[in-house]
């Protein structure tokens, strides 16, 4: 489903940074992939390219048979609707309830009102937040907040989930909780790509691990550890 061919990304500035160097990568539909590696290895750059926030300096990226390079500007929103995002810093709206945070995303994707009303409680139940529908994010724990993000990411039934250090701010138990929800989503057929520093969970889950270092892929194992 995702094919990355000879992709390089260079940030030009006072200091020129080669974030990715000639990366080749194929990810099949339904896979669960960890991107690991030290900070600055290029994990975040890769996720930014995949959500078409940036374009590669060189190379080609195909998602579902379509080139991200040839995607027109007005097509970008529709492309992003096929992807769910999860971030280390949650990116929640603190002045909105759990329900409103998820509904907000569905509204932005221009779902009609009745579909929003129907679908939001259903996904919140899926991530185990059915009792917290009217709570505000600050009243919840980190793990619960991250589960709002997961609910928001899957509310649209996306083809793939891209997570940038989803457990970066969570303690080990909560991290496992979040990871197991991602695993459950993956079981239903959604591709999950997760950049992470979470050594423990990577070793425990035993899924495909792609290790980046200094902008290159240094390891790609089918059932790998950190």
């Amino acid at each position: 489903m995702i094919q990355i061919f000879n992709v390089s990304k260079t940030y030009k500035g006072e200091v020129t940074v080669e974030a990715l160097k000639n990366v080749n990568l194929h990810i099949k539909r339904g896979e669960f992939v960890f991107l690991v590696g030290p900070s600055g290895a290029g994990k975040s750059t890769l996720t930014r390219l995949l959500i078409r926030e940036e374009l590669p300096t060189d190379g080609q990226i195909m998602v579902n048979g379509k080139s991200l390079l040839r995607l027109r500007k007005r097509e970008i929103p529709y492309y992003r609707r096929k992807i769910g995002f999860i971030f280390q810093d949650f990116r929640l709206l603190m002045d909105r309830t759990v329900y409103e945070n998820v509904a907000f995303a569905m509204e932005a994707m221009e779902f009609p009102r009745n579909e929003v009303k129907e679908r939001v409680p259903a996904v919140l139940e899926m991530v185990g937040l059915q009792d917290k529908i009217k709570a505000f994010p600050h009243q919840l724990s980190g793990g619960q907040q991250q589960r709002i993000c997961i609910a928001r990411a899957i509310v649209n039934n996306p083809l793939m989930i891209i997570a940038d250090e989803p457990t970066g701010n969570l303690d080990p138990d909560t991290s496992w909780e979040v990871m197991s929800i991602l695993l459950a989503i993956n079981k239903r057929g959604t591709t999950v790509i997760s950049a992470t520093h979470d050594r423990e969970n990577v070793n425990r889950i035993q899924k495909r691990v792609i290790a980046l270092a200094d902008g290159r892929i240094v390891r790609d194992e089918e059932r790998g550890g950190y």
Partner: protein, 295 residues
């Protein structure tokens, strides 16, 4: 854009107006003031144009004949006058008719003839109506050249002065409206900028989950337009109230003044004011969005 999305946009627009109350009220007030000035200037201009045309249609030339001309020669002049270009109507008014008219105006209480010692001092005269007000000075000039005519009177310059005043009011009104209009656009722009800033986090998330640029822009546009329209509605209501009072007072006390009462024309002004209000709001939003919302 889906209907439900428009609904969301309206909800968000009203929400941020509520949050941003003080600045929104200030924006509404400037829109109201500028449209009020525009409306007053507009109605003034319309009224003076109305007045000018009312006067124009009554514009007459009076030509007084020399006293030594006898009645027969005087009546014969009519043919001469009728062939002058641009004349709509020529009426002979004898000195007796003139005296009668004068007597009518003073009422029956006193006899003017008696007061004048039995002599009628009025000359015989001709009254002309021109087809076109612009021809009046030319016709007057030609009539004056006829030897039997002693002198010619017409409302020299009154219409011209009125029209010049109208032009002047129009220009001054435009300048004032332009200045205040620009001020209100920028105040709206500022308030939209604050909204954009307050919602930058939401905007970021919306972009990530796949909101289109216009989905993101609409609430801000609506916010500006709602502010503009509210300002315009207040201006129109005030204007309507005061103009209705003015018309009433004029009818009661200065009945001869031809004030504009054609509601179709006045409502046209109101309609335009509302439209301009919405435009001011949209323009303010557009400025802010171009500068501060990189979608």
């Amino acid at each position: 854009m889906r209907l439900s999305s428009l609904e969301y946009a309206f909800r968000d627009a009203f929400r941020s107006i509520k949050r941003n109350k003080v600045l929104c009220i200030a924006s509404i007030a400037t829109v109201t003031v500028s449209l009020l000035i525009l409306g007053c200037a507009w109605l003034l201009v319309l009224n003076s144009e109305h007045m000018a045309s009312a006067m124009e249609s009554e514009l007459e030339i009076n030509a007084y004949l020399r006293p030594e001309i006898n009645r027969e020669d005087a009546l014969n002049l009519k043919r001469k006058f009728e062939v002058l270009g641009g004349v709509a109507q020529v009426t002979f008014i004898s000195k007796e008719d003139g005296l009668e008219n004068l007597q009518k105006r003073f009422g029956d209480d006193a006899s003017i003839l008696e007061a004048l010692g039995g002599n009628n001092p009025l000359p015989d005269m001709y009254r002309f109506k021109a087809k076109d007000a612009a021809d009046v000075p030319r016709i007057a000039g030609e009539v004056e050249k006829i030897p039997e005519v002693e002198n010619v009177r017409y409302g020299q310059g009154v219409v011209e002065k009125l029209l010049a005043l109208t032009d002047w009011m129009r220009t001054v009104g435009m300048v004032i409206v332009f200045i205040i209009g620009v001020a209100s656009i920028f105040l709206i722009a500022t308030s939209i900028r604050i909204t954009v800033f307050a919602r930058r986090r939401e905007i970021g998330i919306m972009k990530l989950v796949g909101a289109t640029d216009w989905y993101i822009r609409w609430p801000f546009f609506l916010e500006g337009m709602i502010v503009g329209i509210i300002g315009a509605v207040i201006a129109v209501l005030l204007l309507h109230f005061f103009y209705a009072r003015l018309v009433q007072n004029v009818i009661l006390t200065l009945n001869f003044l031809p004030i504009l009462r054609d509601t179709a024309i006045i409502f046209d002004v109101y309609k335009w004011l509302l439209f301009i209000g919405a435009f001011l709001g949209a323009a303010g939003s557009a400025i802010s969005l171009r500068r501060f919302l990189k979608v």
